[in-house]
């Protein structure tokens, strides 16, 4: 049975945990907000369920709770940020803010980040641009779970891309997508139910297509968006590769099979070519292209035309990217956030460890 918590309850607990591992008040607040934005938007795999994972990374000394995050190279429209092994939850908003400041100055800003850790949902960071009438972008690499087309080796993470685009009267367009057929979180749901996965989601350790949802644990791999060559998996692979290169080869972070794993018990890959995990952020001021008002009224027109398109039988409406997460946010704001028993148990263990009440 799921248990329901308010945003306030989860905020208070997570914030105290981040303070307990040594984060500054500002950083603990930021990290908590980024983490919980995932729960609020219904992306439960990236929310408070991961809190204990971040703590274990800190215990393993892979996360520095007091990082000196800094710019190590820049031009008027670009920067490279060294995250000093900080929580990605803190490093990412820092870097995105730099992209926004540069966009204010010269129209656009582009920031590649090295020496970071997992940054939560890409959406939080890219959405920071919206309030400034800017288009926002966020991407990150991650430890390898995905096999490139024709390979049986895992060489790429699920490497998400998020693009946020402001509108006028309509809510913003927010596309936040892993470059795989299915996110790992969806596969985990099938694993818990012992259900079969659709063809095109995963392959076994020999690289054969399989519907066994447990194949990933047994040396298999997630498949790039497209699923197989006939259905364009080389395109999903190329997109995941672009995210990897922008995030890590451009910044000096680790890429491909060398990206540090999220579970602290998994050994670090050997012969790493860079530092930590890499991210990439972008901000483009709308009025660096045309009047923001004109743009927004055209975005409203775009959104309305697509949302009112004729649907196939059995479907209500065409979804605009960002609709489902925004609707979930409204529901959870009113009804609270449901957590699975395993997640609650995990948080109770943290509660014990740090003597911080959780209820």
């Amino acid at each position: 049975m799921e248990q329901i918590f308010t945003y306030g309850q989860l905020y208070s607990f997570a914030n105290k945990i981040f303070l307990s591992i040594g984060c500054s008040e500002t950083d603990a607040d930021t990290a908590t907000k980024v983490l919980l934005s995932a729960d609020m938007r219904g992306i439960d795999s990236h929310g408070i369920a991961r809190l204990s994972g971040y703590v274990r990374l800190w215990e393993a000394k892979r996360v520095n709770a007091k990082p000196q995050i800094k710019i190590i190279h820049q031009t008027p429209s670009t920067a490279v940020v060294d995250g000093d092994s900080g929580l990605g939850l803190v490093v990412a908003p820092f870097a995105m803010q730099i992209a926004i400041e540069k966009a204010k100055q010269v129209g656009t800003g582009w920031v590649s980040v090295q020496n970071s850790n997992h940054f939560g949902i890409a959406g939080y960071h890219a959405m920071m641009a919206l309030q400034h009438d800017m288009i926002g972008m966020a991407m990150t690499n991650a430890s390898a779970l995905v096999a490139p087309t024709f390979s049986k080796e895992r060489l790429l993470g699920t490497n998400p891309i998020c693009v946020t685009i402001p509108a006028g009267e309509e809510p913003a367009f927010i596309a936040d997508l892993a470059t795989t057929t299915a996110a790992n979180g969806k596969l985990e749901i099938l694993q818990r139910k012992n259900s079969a996965a659709p063809v095109g989601w995963i392959q076994d350790k020999e690289g054969n297509s399989t519907t066994d949802a447990h194949a990933l644990k047994n040396g298999g791999a997630l498949l790039p968006l497209g699923g197989d060559r006939d259905h364009g998996s080389h395109k999903g692979y190329a997109l995941g590769a672009i995210v990897d290169i922008f995030s890590a080869v451009l910044s000096g972070a680790n890429y491909g099979p060398w990206v540090p794993p999220f579970p602290a018990y998994v050994p670090m890959p050997e012969n790493q070519p860079g530092k930590g995990i890499g991210h990439f952020f972008g901000a483009m001021r709308i009025d660096a292209f045309r009047s923001a008002d004109e743009f927004k009224s055209n975005m409203d027109n775009w959104i309305r035309r697509f949302r009112s398109a004729k649907t196939v039988e059995g479907e209500d409406k065409v979804i605009i990217p960002g609709d489902p997460e925004r609707e979930m946010e409204t529901i959870r704001m009113q009804n609270g956030i449901p957590l699975l028993p395993a997640v609650v148990e995990d948080l109770l263990k943290l509660s014990d460890k740090f003597s911080i009440p959780f209820s």
Copy 2:
């Protein structure tokens, strides 16, 4: 039977055709090079096979052979270009050159284009960045052939994205992909053979999945990368939408169902919200992030690790984006360019019309 032509033969003919419709010598040269780069790279659907299509657009007064292409808005890192209804083959390199010049000045350059026409292959334009040690990007919208997830209406073009990334000793990484499961050109091959299309490529006019390769002609639609909701088609749809918005909502071109069609006999959509077709270009100077030498040696490492990855049974090697097109270019440089009888016939008609010998 295919007939073989040298690059020189096709260059000479196409160049004279562009001169005949009134292009300047410089523009005719550029348009010819862009067009033939598709044939050389094996993307036959976007090459000289389309020459007569461009001529028909000019005859229909939808293409202006003597455009005054100009910047209508700019900041240090951005510009909007008005293509003055010129050939996209000419407007696109002009705009990409502006992106490159801005990147020289402030690290990156981003150019959105209105009032243009079809620009050939995205790869040509994005590759212009490589010789400057820059990452290049090119995208364009196109007339609607693709249904968003859950819709039975065609609202998006095949909206390609190209990203080119320089390497050191290895050839550059060049990903050039339509945001659909399969390019229209591949479907046309199946139509000619009366073969079935794989599930996930197209739907019929009611939005039902079909393997009938002719469904597109009968009111059906191409499907976004992913194919269906279970396999991530909402991601392909989001990517196509981003291309549409960056290319057209940002520039003031037409978007969604209002994009002008390539075939001159198809009527223009009514109530168009913008001007012509839209494109979007980007250039990022590598050394705006880190030393170009360091970057390139890491790109070589990335490419070698992926190319030498263990393959699934029956496959030789993992392909790096750009490999197949580069290999085709080498072959066609040596052996010439094969053209289908229908294409040769089409060119012979042009030859007659303009009294320009073709052989």
